[in-house]
């Protein structure tokens, strides 16, 4: 884990410092930090010689480039039509019940954030959700319990390797 400014410099060295390199750099920061802080955006602006407002305007366009502080594991439950038909709300209730947070919130210990997202492309195995970059399908409330517990376990074991 690099401090953010070093991470940004490395990403810029790796991808380039042109405008068309902006998105991979934003993604790289989100990958490690889980979100883009004001500081990160200003550092990116400095590194790429872009106005800070442009970095902000571009980042806020994309749903997966969070600009508010997020937990270590971001849960994104699909809410588009087929998943909705197949029980997305029950899945949400199960998660809300287990983690004691609502959609849009993060657990106080900073481990999980709960969000909704649009069609993940697993409609034939609905309902589906993402936890960071991993996809989970054919969900039931029980399955969700198991999945989230496995993350809690990983977290307790000091899992610094996450997906």
């Amino acid at each position: 884990m690099y401090p953010v400014s070093e991470l940004i410099k490395n990403l810029a060295d790796q991808h380039g410092r042109n405008r068309h390199n902006l998105l991979p750099i934003l993604q790289g920061v989100v990958e490690q930090e889980k979100y883009l802080s004001e500081y990160s955006m200003i550092e990116i602006a400095r590194e790429l010689d872009l106005p800070a407002s442009e970095v902000f305007g571009t980042a806020t366009f994309y749903s997966f480039l969070e600009y508010k502080k997020m937990g270590k594991y971001i849960i994104r439950v699909c809410k588009t039509i087929t998943c909705s038909m197949k029980g997305k709300n029950q899945i949400l209730l199960a998660i809300e019940d287990m983690l004691k947070i609502d959609v849009g919130e993060t657990t106080p210990d900073g481990v999980f954030s709960l969000l909704q997202t649009n069609c993940l492309g697993f409609c034939h195995k609905a309902p589906a959700m993402l936890v960071n970059n991993e996809v989970y399908t054919d969900l039931t409330p029980e399955k969700v319990h198991d999945i989230l517990n496995s993350y809690l376990k990983k977290q307790k074991e000091g899992g610094s390797h996450d997906n």
Binding site: N18, R19, H20, N21, L22, L23, P24, L26, Q27, G57, T58, F61, Y62, S63, F64, L65, K79, T80, I81, T82, S84, M85, T117, N118, C119, L120, G121, F122, C123, H124, K125, A126, L130, N133, E134, V135
Partner: protein, 394 residues
């Protein structure tokens, strides 16, 4: 009079890709003109939903004299109910890469990109491995063509071709004015061919077997086969390769659960076909078929009689309201008005005649919106409201 085109399965896309090296090297020995003619005679049309003739697209781009050109594979599959491109990239990625490389040969491009939606990040390690192997082979046969993956970050609108270019250029994914079209002014302002994943996989079939094998499937104006992503109230959800031109009635016979009330063809941007119209609807591209012929990216969602069409429409409008880029007035404000409008009618806050005002609004959106998203909202809105008006009212 019913259409009696039967449901016919096909098996080209997922068939083995092991001979990709041979297909690639053979195709690269042919002239660009020869390859273009093959594609044109196959009558392959884009499989992402827009249905533009692929041969013509490659031809137009090849005719521009510019030293830098690009080939882009649009893997930003985001249409609700569509999941076929993911499967193609997992199972037969070499076909897609081969298609891209041959395109590069035809139009004179040395760089290819796959714009992969952020939600499919888990595909990346395997895909990168495949690309490395592909690059290696290209170097071996002295073909100057490099493929890279560009990751998206969660924006449905980036599936629109010009929005995709904007995104790749590090900007907000806001669609551009057309003209100019991508064949003249695409990624970085250079001539670009942008094709859907499935379209490229079909070009592989055509280059391997020849145009006739492809052309023989399907019907007039809708040649060849297509992958369909089937989901919803069906005992057989999944991906199926079928010949184009089939009647929806046959489709429902095969895939329905016996109680199918309606089928959404083409995702949220497509049309909802009620049971009474199954017999007179065929799946293909606009042409001289009897009845309605519907273009589609292949998303087929089945709803049985337990489903509320109001909830379905509400879900679609929520989707559009969020995913619209927000640039142009008819789409940005129109989607909000439609969503609030149907809710107000349902709650009895607005008269049912307000639905007619909303229908007229969707007509305006169809005529004036800047890109396909705004233009297509009318499709699902009008087909649901017109066929299930009673479900929209308090």
């Amino acid at each position: 009079m019913t259409i009696s085109y039967q449901l016919k399965r096909a098996d080209f896309i997922f068939k083995n890709q092991n001979d990709w090296e041979e297909v690639l090297s053979k195709s690269l020995k042919r002239t660009p003109q020869d390859l273009i003619n093959e594609l044109i005679s196959s009558e392959l049309k884009g499989r992402g939903g827009a249905g533009f003739p692929t041969g013509l697209k490659w031809k137009l781009t090849s005719e521009i004299s510019e030293s830098t050109k690009y080939v882009i594979c649009n893997a930003d599959e985001g249409e609700p109910g569509t999941f076929k491109d993911r499967e193609i990239l997992s199972m037969v990625p070499f076909k897609v890469l081969t298609g891209m490389a041959v395109c590069g040969h035809v139009i004179g491009a040395k760089e290819g990109y796959i714009y992969l939606r952020g939600e499919y990040f888990f595909l990346l390690p395997e895909l990168n491995k495949v690309i490395r192997e592909f690059d290696y082979y290209c170097k071996e046969i002295n073909f100057d063509f490099t493929i890279r993956v560009f990751m998206g970050s969660g924006a449905y609108i980036c599936g629109e071709e010009t929005a995709l270019f904007e995104s790749m250029e590090g900007k907000r994914g806001e669609p551009r004015n057309k003209p100019p079209y991508p064949s003249n002014y695409g990624y970085m302002g250079k001539p670009t061919v942008i094709n859907n994943v499935e379209t490229l996989a079909h070009t592989y079939t055509i280059f391997k077997y020849g145009a006739k094998r492809f052309y023989d499937l399907g019907v007039q104006y809708s040649r060849g086969s297509k992958l369909f992503s089937v989901s919803g109230d069906t005992p057989k959800p999944g991906i199926y390769e079928l010949e184009l031109g089939m009647s929806l009635a046959d489709f429902v016979d095969e895939f329905g659960d016996g109680d199918t009330k309606a089928v959404q063809v083409g995702g949220a941007s497509g049309f909802l076909v009620p049971r009474k119209r199954f017999n007179e609807t065929a799946i293909g591209f606009q042409g001289k078929l009897v009845g309605i012929s519907l273009p589609t990216g292949g998303s087929m969602m089945l709803f049985n009689s337990s489903r509320s069409m109001f909830n379905v429409l509400d879900n679609y409008l929520e989707f559009f309201r969020e995913e619209s880029c927000g640039q142009c007035t008819p789409c940005r404000v129109g989607c909000q008005q439609l969503l609030k409008g149907i809710k107000a009618v349902k709650r009895g806050e607005k008269n049912t005649r307000y639905l007619d005002k909303l229908l007229r609004l969707t007509e305006t959106m169809k005529l004036t919106a800047k890109c396909g998203l705004g233009q297509s909202v009318a499709n699902s809105f009008s087909s649901i409201v017109e066929n299930f008006r009673e479900e929209m009212i308090y």
